[in-house]
């Protein structure tokens, strides 16, 4: 894992300041089919390679972020504000 994460609000910050939630998946509509909800809650692509996750900058700006990184090299490719992406964290 990269030791520094480029927070869009705070700049490069140490990884220890963040809390990791997990896969950044689009949340289904409340009225969506139970199968879709099951998929969202329990199933994961879990790829070797590029992956997007929700990270919370707990000890910084306290914003929810979407961190894109590689699960083999741990390199962080991008870090965006979750709201800016249109996801509800």
């Amino acid at each position: 894992m990269a030791s520094l994460v480029p927070c869009p609000h705070c700049g490069p910050r140490p990884k220890e300041e963040f809390t990791i939630k997990g896969a950044a998946l689009p949340r289904p509509a409340p009225t969506a089919d139970p199968a879709e909800w099951f998929d969202y809650v329990y199933l994961r692509d879990n790829p070797r390679g590029s992956y997007a996750e929700y990270w919370h900058h707990t000890a910084g700006c306290r914003r929810w972020l979407v961190v894109s990184r590689d699960t083999i090299t741990h390199q962080v490719a991008a870090c965006r504000d979750a709201a800016a992406q249109g996801h509800a964290a």
Partner: protein, 437 residues
């Protein structure tokens, strides 16, 4: 072993036995010692893949090798191949911290892990290999009244299942491990839950013992053979594409641990798993100091001392998806801090080695041993960071499922569809959040 025998099946034996490795005994040791140790033969063959097997097991780790061993030895299915992309013992079976225990709370878990413990207790005799199984005790510390209540509940659940458990108070713990920081300002030690039958095993020997045992019963262990595709015909698995060509099979069994999601994807299956990195550490050799396994109930640290004198310790997973087999320094620092909070004397111990393994973290923290929606494809996955202690029972129950088509009674709760049905086995009560299990 007396307990385990009744659980094993004695009626089905393979008819032929390819005796490629000699049996080990005190006499063979003496004989070969006198002759300059020139006549030892390799413990297993290096066979070329055959065009077709009754069962192919993907993954030559502890669970895959154990499944092959029990399939051949207990269930009479010896036309089996174990495909390992690297070499035997290169994955999690050689990367864990060697602890065995059966101190589980929930009914779906407890009988399974106790079966595993009973199999451990008879394993060396069963596969004729010294795995240095040492029931030196596993002690979980508690630091508050609430935690004591939780451990009392767990201990009672264990005893109701016929598993040994003792609740210790502060003085009992002090007599066992006097060097702990009992008066830590934040996490004072109030007592502990002890399972005396828990302990440690030499993990490499488990891989070697099962590999040798499976090979003796006719199983082909094919190393350096990576599965690159799963060929399906008419909705069934026909075989696997590998780095050494196509190999056909009657049944395909996945035991790929941290790579389970990647292998299952080859059959268009999406699993309730995330792969996370867990680190482990070994210190320089010290004089005998810690007799058993001790875990810090405040979290994130556990330790035992190997027979060579090194402290073997670890903490929690790093918390992010990873296939890298190496972890982050922030976790190293955290584990070291927790260790020092529990045992102040550790502050000047030097760490020799640290490494990471990839855990197949499931969505409820419990494993899966089940069929899949594809008729002849079987799955063994989701072991989180508790796979090593489960090795014998996992192999046995997976072999049972492959041979009989129905789950073994102790593994009946480990179904793949339990997430859809809402029958989760959530030992920690964390919900579908794999990095917290």
């Amino acid at each position: 072993m007396k307990h385990a025998r009744s659980l094993l099946l004695k009626d089905q034996r393979p008819l032929s036995r390819k005796a490629t490795a000699m049996r080990y005994s005190a006499l063979s040791l003496l004989w070969n010692g006198l002759r300059g140790n020139r006549d030892w033969r390799p413990a297993w063959r290096q066979p070329q893949p055959k065009p077709h097997y009754d069962v192919i097991i993907v993954g030559g780790g502890g669970h895959g090798l154990a499944a092959a061993y029990y399939l051949a030895k207990e269930f009479g299915i010896a036309n089996v191949a174990v495909l390992e992309k690297s070499y035997i013992g290169s994955g999690n079976v050689g990367r864990n911290t060697t602890i065995i225990r059966s101190n589980y709370l929930l009914p779906g878990n407890n009988p399974f892990y106790e079966l595993s413990m009973k199999l451990w207790e008879g394993l060396e005799r069963d596969f004729n290999f010294n795995a240095m199984i040492s029931q030196r005790g596993v002690l979980n510390l508690y630091h508050s009244d609430a935690q004591r209540d939780a451990y009392m509940r767990r201990g009672n659940a264990m005893r109701l299942h016929g598993v040994d458990a003792e609740l210790l108070d502060r003085d009992d713990v002090r007599r066992m491990v006097p060097f702990l920081d009992f008066d830590n300002a934040r996490f004072p030690i109030k007592g502990g839950l002890l399972q005396r039958r828990g302990g440690t095993v030499r993990h490499d020997a488990v891989a070697w013992g099962y590999a040798r045992g499976a090979d003796r019963h006719g199983v082909d262990i094919i190393q350096g053979c990576e599965v690159t595709g799963i060929r399906r015909e008419n909705g069934r698995v026909a075989g696997v594409e590998t780095s050494r060509g196509f190999i056909g099979c009657g049944k395909l069994a996945l035991a790929a641990a941290g790579n389970s999601s990647e292998v299952a994807r080859m059959a268009d299956l999406k699993l309730p798993l995330e792969s996370h990195v867990l680190q482990a550490f070994v210190s320089e050799g010290l004089k005998p100091f810690i007799d058993g396994v001790v875990t810090f109930g405040a979290g994130h640290f556990y330790v035992s001392q190997s027979d060579k004198g090194g402290l073997v310790f670890g903490g929690d997973i790093d918390g992010y998806n990873s296939y890298a087999q190496r972890g982050n320094l922030a976790t190293v620092e955290h584990v070291a801090e927790a260790g020092k909070a529990m045992i102040p004397a550790l502050s000047r111990v030097r760490v020799l080695r640290a490494w990471g393994g990839i855990m197949d973290m499931s969505m409820d923290g419990s494993p899966i041993i089940d069929r899949t929606p594809i008729d002849n494809l079987y799955l063994n996955a989701g072991w989180c960071y508790g796979g090593f202690k489960a090795t014998p029972a996992s192999g046995f129950c997976f072999a049972h499922l492959l041979a009989r088509g129905v789950p073994h009674e102790t593994a009946a709760a480990f179904r793949l569809d339990r997430f859809r049905r809402g029958h989760l086995i959530d030992e920690k009560g964390q919900g579908a959040q794999p990095n917290l299990h």
